[in-house]
Amino acid sequence: MKVSFNWLKELVNVPVGPAELAERLSTSGTEVESVQPVGQDITGVVTARIESIERHPDADRLVVTQIFDGTDTHQVVTGATNVFVGAIVPLSKVGASLAGGFKIKESKLRGVPSNGMLCSETEVGVAAESNGIWILPPDTPLGLNFSEYAQLSDTILEIGILPNRGDCQSMIGVAREVAAIFKLPLKMPDIKFSDSNSKSEWTIRCEEPEFCPKYTGRGMTNVKVGPSPIWMQRRLQSGGVRPINNMVDISNYVMLECGQPMHIFDASFFEAKTVGIRFATEGEKMVTLDGVERRLPAGTGVITDGTKAVAIAGVMGGETSGVSDKTTAVLIEAAYFHPSKIRSAMRQTTLRSESSVRFEKGIDFKAIEWASDRAAGLVEALGGGQVTGARVAFVNEQHSAAQAKKIAFSAAQINGLLGSEFSEAQIADALKLLGFSVENGHAIVPTWRLLDIQEWPDLAEEVARIVGLDQIVTRLPLPNGLMPEPSPVRKLQTQLSKRLVTAGFCEIRSLPMISPEDAARCGQTPGAETTMQNAFAPEESIMAASHLPRLLNTLAYNLNRQQHDIRLFETGQVFGAQSGEIQETVELAGLIEGRETPSDYTEGLQSPQVYRYLTLKSTLESVLAPYKLTFSAGNSPQLHPIQQQQLTIGSAVIGVMGQLNPKLAGQYDVPATSLYFAINLNVLATVSVETPKFAPFSKFPSTRRDIAILAPKSLPFSDILTVIHQHKSPAVTDVFLFDFYESEKLGADKRSLAVGLVYQDLEKSLTDDDVNKPQEKLVAKLTELLPVTIR
């Protein structure tokens, strides 16, 4: 909400400047978002009357005006379309200084001399935008220093309204806060009008006393619709409201002033002089004042002329029932509409107005009459209207909004919550400053805070913010005994992330939302649990079931930016559902591309694809230690059909690794040689790690025997290893591959593998016989069981 410092000063004697006021408001709980000087340093602008308007000889869009400032006549060329002969406007003469330091000089527009400029609200710095030249009221004297006359110079404090502080959505509301902070009186505006206590001709018929517990109406006649005086226009502008005509302006002015939304109807529209309040019926339609025909959601509160809807209660008026230039009699509405009903009307109609945002946060039930009278006084003063009878009203005194609220509290409770040592008197004083009455351990809540203040802790907050939060001591909580361990999943997440970083991986954190296309490519079939209703765009509408799509996109993103030798990982929740139950799993996944060691400038260590795959295997073995990782055949469709393996520990499948499926790699424009792995940490956390137990080692020497095997390329090494493990002597303590090569000499479909075996006994030195016999048996078994030859 925009608060004019000039206006505020009329309601309370602010003893400090705008900047300090902003500071004091902020530290007492009213957030000031900005402090903006407006209309300052405007000079050389006077009020002047347009005497004549002629077409520009050489420009269709320009006119030449003669304009009289009370002393001299000036020729000014303008492109404005809303000017007319007799209009009084702000004229910036040659030498004038406008908003933003803009200076007016003598000039020629398309050959015609122009001595000055006609000003809009924007040029004199009081509004962000405007509809053409500012047309002043016809009774404005000529030749006045406009900057002084219109009080252009002001400071606007932009105040953030907290959801519980609807009462601050008005000048009086903010002035109340200021009065409390500085312990000053609030100066309420005077209300003056020729009262009429005669019986009103108007009838209020409220069918929904819960939705509308109070509705007041007051008829006025002999109204003259015209522009508002400049002081009112300025105040509306400072509140961000555009002046329209005196009647509309009065309703807006009263709302800005006291927070009570007002509506002024053209009385002639109510033939039966009856105002009805009811809920809209199924399919009911109405044209709102923005000219749009709307279907009213059933159950929306409407104001009627006794039968048909003329306004959406508390949200927006109807097109035809509003005040027009021809209006001579008006009905002033001031009412209370139920906050949550207004809220749902706003949601259903998607309409938001200055009125609805005030009703939504709850208005002061007891201040409605004051607002109605205030408006009547202004209509009489500015529009010449006369009150035609007493204010008529429907009031539901049983409504919760009508009930006084009394809250029991004690100083001990408040100090017990705040950790403070405020005295009873200190507490009572603070509450009284804010409009509470305090008596016998109770506080009576001011009528403008009924929705907000619920229990004694609310009183504690009021006291704390007025006395000052800095008056409460700062103290560390007492120690708490034992601190629990993090969850196994979190421990794994942290530990494995750190190990991957040591292995050269960079962690990414990407948005978890992906596109339906990403989901389909990566094998996710999203259901209702993982599809968003109101995503910004389809590209961000699915909660990802794995990190794969994000890793692919991030890899492509970085490759496009000339990065290479990339090792990425991501960890966090991935999303799925099983029979309607949402399942969130913590996954750790990585994607690598390029060389193992990017700084590797030596030729001998360039990594061929097999080397890269195998180093990733050993990286994962190290990262997952002390788990004993094993690898088995994998079947992930996102990976290369052959170049992939499942990661298993014991009988638990904890993840997968492999080369990307070339089709998927192509879809993301990343190299098909990229390698991916994923580990399900929830599963991993269920696998227990056995504490190692000491195994004795032999003090007798070991003996090594090697086998050189010529095998077809199609024979997996694991088959050879299986046979060796099945048929080796119990004295074999280690089996390892120590040489591997393929060459044309061997044949295109052959490769040579050299396996070393270590024989050792705990109890004795082994003889040649102890070693050679089992070794020969093993070699025989290999050739018997496998299509291999021994070299």
């Binding site: 001591v473 601190m483 649990e529 209703q533 929740q573």
Partner: protein, 340 residues
Amino acid sequence: MSIQSQLDQMVSEASPLIAGCASLVELEDIRLQFLGKKGALTEILKGLATIDAAERPAIGMAANQAKTALSTLLDDKKSELETASLAAEMVKNAIDVTLPGVGTPLGHRHPISQTIDEISQILGRLGFAVEEGPEIESDYYNFEALNIPDDHPARDSHDTFYMMSGHVLRTHTSPVQVHVMEREKPPIRIIVPGRVYRRDADASHSPAFHQIEGLLVDEKVTFAELKGTLDYFLKALFGAKQSVRFRPSYFPFTEPSCEVDVACVLCQAKGCAVCKHTGWLEILGAGMVNRNVFRKVGYDPDQVTGFAFGVGVERIAMLKLGIPSIKLLTDNDLRFLKQF
């Protein structure tokens, strides 16, 4: 010539040869020439037989002296030549140690992870243990249980993403408070780091970002402990001299509520665009747990009190690391990630 003279002559003949010798092989030849089995000394001593038995001990001593003198010269020269040869060898086989290192360079954790770790460690010292919870939540845990009923205006500030199934993407990490309090009895002292989601169209926001929520519930917890905890936390994070300011505010799930500012770390509180010329940066929201939240989880609000706070991780990371745009934190550009 007397044996003595022959010995003297041998020494004076050998000395310059040894001194001028340039290799170990040559030196060995010299040794053999003079001291070997068939060398000069052996030859000279053959003459002993012709000498008087009484003179022999003196001559023997002279021969030993000559031998020792030559051996010393030879040993010294050998050691000298060995040192020189080792030095030459080292130069010959030396690598260029100024070449850059080879190997896998260390990777990087994301700045958000680093910030979460740092915050968790600081609050861990005060006994706050890490808890986590689901990101797709029910309306009840995200709103209702936190004293934000359906028609509450506070829902406006939580621009919410809804799932087709009616679930919500949690708008804050506060639902985890409720899960933990439903599961456990006080005392409770937890922090909840995690990702949260807001449907905020503003370019300076991201639809997903990270929060850390803190909750402490016990008997007789007051606002003073809230202040103490956050003051300690912010000073540990931003430096011991950091000024911290508490401002009253409003959150539906706390009462009283406050926002906490630190003196602007970018302009040293002089006023800049980031702190909107106030000299203060809003860092977190906090407050005493609303009694309605305790009622929802079955705690007796007359028996326990507590405080909760929430801090935006991106904001902390951006301030501490000088990151100008939140987009950098979600783009995952390696040129960015490798800086931290």
